[in-house]
Symmetry: C2
Subunit: 198 residues, 2 copies
C-alpha cells in the first residue's frame, strides 16, 4: 500500500521500510555490496536513521535475515518426543519447510549468503549458532552436544546445497518424505549415536 498522508510514517513504518529495503538488498547484492546508504536510499530515509534504529550493518543483517520458523517453538517439539526418532522428526520438519516456496527461498538465501562472502558467512554462523544450535545443545543436554549440533549442521546445509542449490539427482527429485527418510538415520547418529565408534 502506498501511503501519501503528507506526514512522515511513524517510527514503526520507518523501521519496516528499512527492514524491507535491507532484506531485498542483502538478497540481491550480497552483504559486501549492500551499504547503509543504499538501504537508506531505497527506504527513502536519512542514512542516520538506519543506524539509529538498527546499529551497524552487521546488526541490521542479523535482524533481517530470518529463519522461516521460530526455533524457540520448533526445537523443543522436535526434541521432546522419544529420543530414538529425533532424527526422523528433524528430517521431516526440515524437508517440509524446504518444500514450502517461502521456506525454501529463505533457507537457500541463507546458504547462498554464507557461501558468498566471509563477512556474510560469519553472520549466518552467528544466527544459526545463537538461534538454532544453542537450543539443540540445550535440548540434547550432553557434554558433546555442540559437536553433535555442528555435525547435524553439516548434513543439513549439504542437503540444502545438493537438493535445492546444485540440484544433484536423483536426490533433487525425491519427494520430501522419501528424502527425509533417507537422511534421518544419519541425523540420528549425529544427535544420539556413538560418535567415535567406527
Amino acid at each position: 500500500m502506498t501511503r501519501r498522508s503528507g506526514r512522515r510514517p511513524g517510527a514503526s513504518g520507518t523501521r519496516e521500510s528499512i527492514r524491507a529495503a535491507a532484506g531485498h538488498q542483502f538478497a540481491e547484492l550480497g552483504f559486501d555490496r549492500t551499504s547503509m546508504r543504499s538501504i537508506a536510499a531505497e527506504a527513502g530515509v536519512d542514512p542516520g536513521l538506519v543506524a539509529h534504529f538498527f546499529g551497524t550493518k552487521h546488526e541490521l543483517f542479523v535482524d533481517v535475515v530470518d529463519l522461516p520458523f521460530d526455533p524457540q517453538q520448533v526445537v523443543p517439539v522436535i526434541f521432546a518426543g522419544d529420543r530414538e526418532h529425533i532424527g526422523r522428526r528433524l528430517a521431516d520438519f526440515l524437508l517440509t519447510t524446504l518444500d514450502d516456496p517461502e521456506g525454501r527461498r529463505r533457507i537457500t538465501g541463507l546458504v547462498r549468503a554464507a557461501a558468498s562472502e566471509p563477512e556474510a558467512a560469519r553472520m549466518v554462523r552467528e544466527l544459526i549458532t545463537r538461534q538454532v544450535f544453542a537450543r539443540i545443545i540445550d535440548a540434547l543436554g550432553v557434554d558433546d552436544a555442540d559437536l553433535r549440533a555442528s555435525l547435524v549442521g553439516s548434513q543439513v546445509v549439504g542437503l540444502v546445497m545438493a537438493r535445492h542449490i546444485v540440484g544433484v539427482e536423483p536426490l533433487a527429485s525425491l519427494s520430501a518424505e522419501r528424502a527425509a527418510a533417507l537422511i534421518a538415520p544419519n541425523l540420528q547418529r549425529y544427535l544420539t549415536g556413538p560418535l567415535d565408534a567406527d
Copy 2:
C-alpha cells in the same frame, strides 16, 4: 574437434594463457560476470581464439574448474579395499585433501561457485556428476548407486561448507583425522548401508 594440419608452434602456450585467465576470472568474478571477451583480453589473444580452442564459455568453465585430484586414480583405490571401510577411506581422503591449502582452495572455490549462480551450479553439477559420481556408481555397482552417490555428495558438500566456508565450531577446529572419523560412519551408511531402514 578437428585439427588443421600444420599446427602453429604457439598453440599450446596460447591454450595455457587462456586457461589461466579463465581460471582466474571464474574464481574472482563468478561465471556470469566472466565473458569470453574479458578472458581473451587478459590472455592477450583474439576472442575468436578462445572459442576456437575451447568452444563455449560453458565448455571452457568445465575445462578449467578442476578438482585437486584425479578421480580416475582416486575412486578405484578408495572403493577397491574391503567394503565395510569405504566410508573411512573416503573420509580420510577428503579431509586430507581439504587439509592441503591448494586442495582446500580448489574445493571451496567449487562449492562457492555452485552456491553463487544457477549457471555455475549447473556446471559444477555436471563436473561432479561426470567426473566423480559416475565412477562411484561404477565402483559400487548396485542398483541405487546413483542415489547413494548423491547422498554422499550432500554430506561432503555440507562438510566443506560447515568446516571451511561457514566455520561452524567445534567442527571447524577439529583435526582432519578426528573429523574424518566422525563423518565416516555416515558416509558408510550412504554407500553400503540399508537406506530405507529407519
